[in-house]
Symmetry: C2
Amino acid sequence: MKHTISVLVENKFGVLARISGLFSARGYNIDSLAVGETEDPSVSRMTIVVNAADERILEQIKKQLNKLIDVISVLDLTKKKHYDRELIMAKINFSKTLEPKISKITKRLPVKIIHRNKDSYVIEAVLDQEQAKDLMASLEEIGIKELARTGRIALEP
Amino acid sequence: MKHTISVLVENKFGVLARISGLFSARGYNIDSLAVGETEDPSVSRMTIVVNAADERILEQIKKQLNKLIDVISVLDLTKKKHYDRELIMAKINFSKTLEPKISKITKRLPVKIIHRNKDSYVIEAVLDQEQAKDLMASLEEIGIKELARTGRIALEP
């Protein structure tokens, strides 16, 4: 099961290395990670998505996170009501033949074309998990040249 | 000067810890970091934003990144033409008095209200750097209850 964990940390160097080390030491790979500033410049928020095969190990990791001095709070949003979003940017193939396929996608999903080359488009989209899966599957049919995803962030309502 | 560095890495555990360790060992704090999957599930893209006081040290870090076996490519987009975007989610104060201020923001910037409580709104916005600064300054006037930012991602056109 994929868990979305929101961690508030002191914005100091070394914190990121310690936290990612904590996951990797337990053999847990992080699916996605987004670290950004908060309204307080001394505090950053990390949103970590992990696929937890063993819930007990994840509980241990969360406990250890809470013990790190630079960690302010650890919140597992997985079972709470929350809004999650991810930003996806992609450079995709473009041709006259692909045009109908692309416009089908932009009609179905909130996808914005931000740059047009002769043979490629650059698009951006903010999506929840289900929409992100949908977009990725559709883009694969068209052909992705380059892809950048932010990883998920989430807030409680 | 803030640098935007795009790193393609093998999606293996420990890679994130090694890369963040490389920055922190040199006393470099990462401003933001976004790690997401790419079209190839075995490869992730990390977009790192660092404030490089000393360009020579940053050059060294980039060289060392290139030497790590799990690093596929390192691209410093700072001086190249690129599109950068960040996703910001915020829970902000809401009241009748604040309403005109909020609608002023949503008119000026591409901000979407995704949830309305009695005394707070949850918003999402995809912005470039300048717009992000603008939004943050405006939101501070209104009052931020909670904030989640993905950190910047970027693609060449």
